[in-house]
Amino acid sequence: MKQKLMGLNGDEAAAYATKQVDPDVVAAYPITPQTIIVERFSEYVADGLVHSEFVAVESEHSALSSCIGAAAAGARAYTATAANGLALMWEMTYIASGVRLPIVMSVANRALSAPLNIHNDHSDSMGARDSGWIQIYCENSQEVYDAHVEAWRIAEHEDVLLPVMICFDGYTISHTMENVMTLPDEDVKGFVGKRKFIKVQGHLGEAELRLDPGCPISMGPVDLQDFYFEHKVHQMDAMEKALKVIPAVDEEYGVLSGRKYGHVNPYRMDDADVAILGLGSVMGTAREVVNELRTEGVKAGMVKLRTFRPFPTDDLIKAIGDVPALGVIEKDLSFGAAGGPLYEDVRAVFYDAGSKPLIANYAHGLGGRDTSMAMIRGIYEDLLKIKKKGRVEKTMNYVGLRE
């Protein structure tokens, strides 16, 4: 396989992969730090490099609504957003998932207002974690590119049929140029193939799950006490099946590209005394800190979580293993909760696990505040103290906060 090395930032990597996929409809509204995706894709449309119908909508609510209409009609539909744009889409995120539309959306993660902030944290996509979208978090531009090729196969898989959100850190990834290996167009096209449709029983008999005037069906009509519950459990079931589909697609992509990721990515965990678990770009920094600590004789490890929804419980428990102390780091807060959303999920899955680490929560990087190597080192130092004491005295910790 001859791959081309390109210099792309995360937004460009998302746009370039999507250009190669050439979806039928792209409806998007520019918002910092996702804007470059919309700009690049508009250029591809203007230059005739894609056949996509580009819908210049007046809001993010309309962007996702357009994608829902297009995907319901059988099109491949793509959109991209960030922060308050995703918040404005909120109503439609549940509808896209509820009617089982395999839309792919890029989220260049950005802090939610107020106060107004354009920089990175995960408060936007974490707010959508219960909306029934698969969420994949990327560490760098290469992962952004790869995820944008894989996502269609996951979303459209007959066992899944759920929309996919590809999350990557605003500015840190979206605006940072990196080396990205790209596949030839025909290989991307061959990998994603054509969208297929399952058969369903409509009111006129069997029909494909798409809006076709020749064979009409009603999608997502009023669904009260008698059926709503069953349809919601369908989404739970689809998420569970996605736990198997995502690695299978990843494996196949690995054969094609030489790159695969898995749900979780453990690093130097075999004999680790202390480890941190987290999402996104900060895990690249953490890897460097692990390497430094290892040269100093500290048995440090880390686990990068790539798939957040569905939550890969078994893979995660296996990756964390029997490490005595674990720090869950996350760029979000859940006001009034026991901890951040990632921390709560991790704690919950270990409740029934045989051995469980001491777990502490570290909120960091809110509003784009830099999480330095020294700060991550501080987390490991704290975890070493927790391991020594044998208990967690302070579960909620703020990293890099001025007192």
């Binding site: 509820g98 009617v99 089982r100 049929l161 399952i198 369903v200 029983q201 409509g202 009111h203 006129l204 029909a207 799950l209 069906i217 009603s218 999608m219 997502g220 009509p221 669904d223 008698d226 059926f227 519950f229 069953e230 349809h231 459990v233 369908h234 079931d237 689809a238």
Partner: protein, 91 residues
């Protein structure tokens, strides 16, 4: 709706597998109109006021209710100028 499928046999996508024509909203109601043809002047206002379109005009000029869709709201009885419609309990 007749038989109800469980989530395992129900098709994905929340697609209606029965036509809305088969969804008889009349069973929501607790009351139904009873017409007194001795007082009725065949004005047909009940037919026009019915929000569900469940009251039709017969060939003989009197009106009758389609109980499959009558929700028992009582607008017809309220609006009848000669008070020939009485709301009575369904079944």
């Amino acid at each position: 709706m007749s038989e109800k499928k469980g989530w395992k046999s129900l098709d994905k996508g929340a697609v209606a597998y029965k036509s809305s024509r088969d969804y008889e909203t009349g069973d929501w109601g607790v009351a139904q109109p009873k017409f007194n043809h001795e007082k009725c002047t065949k004005c047909t206002l009940c037919h026009f006021y019915c929000p569900e379109g469940a009251i039709r005009v017969r060939e003989d000029g009197y009106t009758e209710v389609d109980l499959r869709y009558c929700k028992g709201c009582g607008v017809c009885a309220e609006e009848c100028p000669v008070k020939c419609i009485e709301m009575v309990a369904k079944r």
